[in-house]
Symmetry: C2
Subunit: 448 residues, 2 copies
């Protein structure tokens, strides 16, 4: 029943993944003479750039999620299918789902990436990453349980370990998480405890390269680090995590090894393609890069399969950089790629074509705490409060639904002026604070 009606004359575009790439592809095809099926495992689009706010209790999951069906409902040519694609058969032009199959004329794959642990998958239990709502709620659970456990802990050394938060990875996620953690510990929770002084919280941000935000201009990295340090974050660059065990992080830094006792370790490093990369590679022979991303042609199609496109974080698009460095895995790239592919499909249906995709970089930005950010618009770089405002409005502008924009703006204004964070529920709680480590040797269940 998933099959296209054979009598239906319309070209059928199947989009796998409802992130920025998939959703914008559907959006730009809404008036094209095609029929669109948008497939996702989840029933909602997630605004990942604000996920760290959920992890730190500033926003609720519902604030940064939009039901895919509601978003796509006005597009009369589009249907949504909640399902998981397991394979692709380019000969039959079929995608195979767990519970059926579907014929396509054009396939757009936009399933993104997940975090990975550089071959140390056992770290997943100890240092949760931040890609899904469940990840964010797990981080939130651990962060707030740690303060609760510290409040109860009589032993000063153990209390210090509960109040030590290690964030691995100094990219935008790590930087934003560290800033939010500092705001939380040094401002929001200041008056909430009676035994501990949350200003003793240690927030350690580890980055393997020589500066935070390595993809940005060095001067912005410097400003970002200064802002983080002003907030109270300890930034350690050129620091590689070599082991995570028993609430101890082992760090190698300039040939020296040191160990940090920390009960809460948050993972913001490492990225690995979703498994659709492998599926596409096996089905089409397309080459993958080391992270498992599909290396695409200048028109974002897969070699020798002009009707299969890969866009967004899952695509490695190396054609624009003289060193062959792929475009970064950020929302603006996915959105522009989606628009390009939609336009290309329309052109091709008219027997026309388009020159290869060209990404227009409008800049990068990252937020640091309550009112500082760094913005690099190419022609101008700025930091501090104006950058924070720019960051805020750009993010709110790109939130998919108007009610989300409104809610996030209000929540944000409220949090800003009151320095509160209302959404700090510990949910899916299996153990009480202070118990889990003794019982389980630091291996809290990752399940949420």
């Amino acid at each position: 029943m998933f099959n296209q009606n054979k009598n239906h004359p319309l070209h059928h575009v199947v989009i796998v993944g409802g992130g920025f790439g998939g959703l914008y592809a559907a959006h730009h095809l809404r008036k094209a003479p095609v029929k669109v099926t948008l497939i996702d495992k989840r029933n909602f689009h997630l605004f990942q750039p604000l996920l760290y706010q959920v992890a730190t209790g500033g926003l609720s999951p519902g604030d940064i999620s939009s039901p895919l069906r509601a978003v796509v409902a006005p597009n009369k040519n589009t249907r949504v299918l909640m399902g998981e694609v397991t394979d692709v058969e380019p000969q039959q032009q079929q995608v195979i789902l767990k519970d059926g199959e579907l014929t396509y004329d054009t396939l757009i794959v936009a399933t993104g990436v997940s975090h990975h642990y550089f071959g140390n998958d056992q770290w997943a239990q100890k240092a949760p990453g931040l890609k899904t709502i469940e990840d964010a709620l797990e981080m939130r659970r651990r962060i707030f349980l740690a303060f609760e456990a510290a409040e109860k802990e009589a032993d000063p050394e153990k209390r210090r370990a509960w109040l030590t938060f290690v964030i691995v990875g100094g990219g935008p996620t790590g930087v934003e998480l560290a800033g939010a953690m500092a705001e939380l510990a040094y401002t929001t929770l200041k008056h909430d405890f009676r035994h501990i002084d949350t200003s003793e919280t240690k927030i350690l941000l580890l980055e393997g390269m020589d500066r935070v935000l390595p993809p940005y201009q060095p001067e912005l990295s410097t400003k970002a680090q200064a802002s983080l340090e002003a907030l109270g974050v300890t930034v350690q660059t050129k620091s590689l995590v070599t082991n995570i065990d028993d609430n101890t992080v082992t760090i190698r830094r300039r040939d020296r090894t040191e160990q940090v006792q920390a009960k809460t370790i948050l993972w913001a490093a490492g990225m690995k393609a979703s498994k659709m990369g492998k599926v596409i590679s096996q089905a089409t022979g397309a080459e993958l890069d080391r992270a498992g991303r599909v290396i695409v042609k200048p028109d974002l199609s897969v070699p020798e399969h002009g009707n299969i496109f890969v866009i967004g974080d899952l695509a490695n698009f190396p054609h624009q950089d003289e060193n062959g460095k792929p475009l970064p895995g950020v929302a603006p790239v996915a959105m522009q790629e989606a628009k390009y592919v939609a336009r290309l499909i329309e052109k091709q249906l008219r027997g026309e074509t388009l020159p290869g995709f060209c990404y227009r970089d409008y800049g990068s930005l990252a937020v640091i705490g309550r009112h500082a950010a760094v913005v690099d618009l190419g022609f101008v770089k700025f930091a501090g409060f104006p950058a924070w405002l720019a960051w805020l409005f750009i993010h709110i502008f790109f939130l998919i639904e108007f009610d989300n924009k409104l809610l996030v703006l209000i929540q944000w204004g409220w949090n800003y002026f009151t320095r509160k964070r209302g959404a700090r529920l510990i949910t899916n709680q299996e153990v009480l604070p202070g118990q889990e480590v003794e019982d389980k040797n630091g291996q809290m269940p990752l399940k949420v």
Copy 2:
């Protein structure tokens, strides 16, 4: 380290439970010459009357929860302890926690009730109840997965079962849930699907008594039933559920037995005291009623233990009704009891006393769908839109924090005018729609 400082001259009040009873007790003691410890298993206060809105995607968990620490932070004499009380020792005046103990001068127990299945605990897996955030998210998951599964289902009979929702229990929770389900199926989701027509959804509300809202005046029950039926809900009174199995609900109604095929069964019936009832009974010899609630004295204390009070849903207060019927388990009762006990403690510290507790009933109300409700204020009863407005403002007024009031009001206004429900994420998803029943014989995991 939980022990009171023996040199500290202040009377120590320990409150177990951060619901309406516990929180209001702490609030009314904030200026008393006492030291207060508020213990809860969770780190947040939950506004249970709006939990059905989370279950149906209208509000987010964060909207109806307030961090206990943040709420209590301004009360300088109060500390919050996240922990679970396992026992009470009246001789030593101690409460025993899972990880320590605590000495009290006065103990206030306000741990409320949970739902129960009339001895059929195996139904818990098949028909989740609605007492916690996790319960609400599990209901939300099942409700939205059911529509997704129906969209994919080719077999008409199975599709009908996916589109049949049975709500067991016609009290306020069941009535409000049924109204919200009707709004969801017949309005919100109307344009979101391509294969199914959500107006074919069947919502069946089952009540064992001869009318819905049995504690209210009969004329309001009649109005409530009429409003529900106008919304499209099938109301069946005098109907007892005798079995829930393999997605089939067996109903006995006037000596006839009928079976309904339904994939989603929501439990809004049955109430059982939290386990602190048993603990108090064993420790003090206090009598319990059939639901496990502690039968309290006119001053809400436990017989022969004048410094142990039980308030809120966990208390059976039979002194006001000529037939000895206890006060109902609603927030206003808990709040008034909390205030009474706080005043009594202050009086007792001055060597004075108070006459027994007397509940002042300001009325009852329940909401039905988007703009109908029933309100019974004793001297006046009304229904329809004015009742809905009254319901809305009373609920928002009693939301603990101002930012929650604001957010809920906006979210509500938005949902009202757009007929949308933004918070309909399916989270903690383990299986895709349409798979679980075949795989697991209808026993979806209740774990969230």
